[in-house]
Symmetry: C2
Subunit: 324 residues, 2 copies
Amino acid sequence: MAVTIKNIADACNVSRGTVDRALNNRGKINPEKKELILAKAKELGYKPNYIARSLKRGKTNTIGIIVFNLYNEFFSSLINSMEEKAKEKDYHIDLALTHYDKDTEKKCVESMIRRQVDGLILCSVNNKKDYSSWLQKFNIPVVSLANKISNKIPYISVDDRRAMKDATQYVADKGYDRIIYISPPLAYEDTHNIYALKQRFEGFSQVNMEHESIIIESKDYIRELETINILEYKTAILCTSDIYALEVLNYLKEKKIKIPSQVGVMGFDNINMLKYIEPHLTTVSYPIEQIGAIAIDSISQAIENGNKIQNMVITHEIIIGESL
Amino acid sequence: MAVTIKNIADACNVSRGTVDRALNNRGKINPEKKELILAKAKELGYKPNYIARSLKRGKTNTIGIIVFNLYNEFFSSLINSMEEKAKEKDYHIDLALTHYDKDTEKKCVESMIRRQVDGLILCSVNNKKDYSSWLQKFNIPVVSLANKISNKIPYISVDDRRAMKDATQYVADKGYDRIIYISPPLAYEDTHNIYALKQRFEGFSQVNMEHESIIIESKDYIRELETINILEYKTAILCTSDIYALEVLNYLKEKKIKIPSQVGVMGFDNINMLKYIEPHLTTVSYPIEQIGAIAIDSISQAIENGNKIQNMVITHEIIIGESL
């Protein structure tokens, strides 16, 4: 049985109000009596009931975090860094995964709101103004990572457009004259939040190649790749994520196509596992752990001091490997 | 501002008690009045305050999950599967990471208890009877995964001893006559929970090889490996995790030692990323996602029906690759 304030009051022969003042360090109380009460509370193994306290203080010290899933190392690194930073700041993490489903995401948000999280950090599948208005009405700090929701919700990320433009320019400068660009479907735009993907595509489109680029935007990108004569020009395959690039590497190896002498490959994200991959993948660094730590820092300050959270752009970098 | 029971009561011109009976489907209430109240609650956008409700019902629908970290894909797959199963069962996940620190783990447990989680699932760094007695006194269901805490705490895992014995026998049957066994330090036994590691080592020790095995139990295993003439006999390097095996593969490739013709390598875990690794790693499957789902299933039943949670052993399997 949990020890209650009443138990301590009975043991010390004082009122519950006196115990409350001693434990919470407020109001007038005789110092000796206070010491006695604190010693007794310790002796009895008293633990404050955080739930009851949350009701009083209107703060649960919990940050709700909603991401797609943890299959991609990108997200597990993000959660890892946020949990570390949150613990340092005395916050808990309430984790929910949407598996790219918009309704699931809304249910996760509602459920977290009912559980009175102090703030929300989202990699959102939903977008548009309706969604950001809906989020704002809960009146707690919200931060979006990787996928921008709207100008109303603070957003911490790399500059995806600039990063993909730099990547494409790097490919062009390496002497490739055609790019096969592989991305998840951009046609999802009307229904899903594909802000980052769209930015990347725009960045890619800003660089001219000698031969017309081929755009594969499909979950079945390997099957689409099979229909293309990839050896026709000096071709590089540029992927919007390392995971896609790894699948492409596997496909090319299976087809005995040499990388990079016959075809170049470039990824995006720079996930940790790349250190075990041959050939070393050329990619773009996405400092996801830094972004996670900044997000927690910003949101905890917003929770505690009411600070407005600023948009933030974190620097990317081309990581030179052996696949281009 | 959140809509309260009082707002609904005022709007319907009834007492708060009546609204409470309507919303919570209990006590006597005129059906028409109930319908009116429910319609008004919906119209006003009433959301039950789960925290206040938790206080009354003594249940938060939250399961606390404490693991080492999410750097190893093993744990992110575990969390992913548990979150999915928990959501299906209408539970939330409160996640904390210990980074192998015993005090951090205890603080995580205490903090979750204060937040009144309904149950706890641990990959524990702590062990021994003192710890399991301490956990038991909180009087909520507790499950340990991967690392057994004591006979008092239910434990869901593969049979680590048997799995490593099978792996070792597989190496011997492939014609190798010496094994270099790489494990995290077994000397941690007195201070840390290394139950699974110890079981694996015992399984390994049950198989006789022609030449004496070399045991490397160090975090600096690559440096230790450098001091050994690994080409002396027909040698296989058997690792207690895939991550170690991947580091060993990288080392051997750097030294231009051919795998498996000069040295064989075997891992443990069968993490998903192995599909991108060359040569395909021979390893032992550890069905971590299945274990995660079973753990949530068991603990939710224990929370709801008071069922005793049974120990469970999940079947492992040798995964034949090209590295042996």
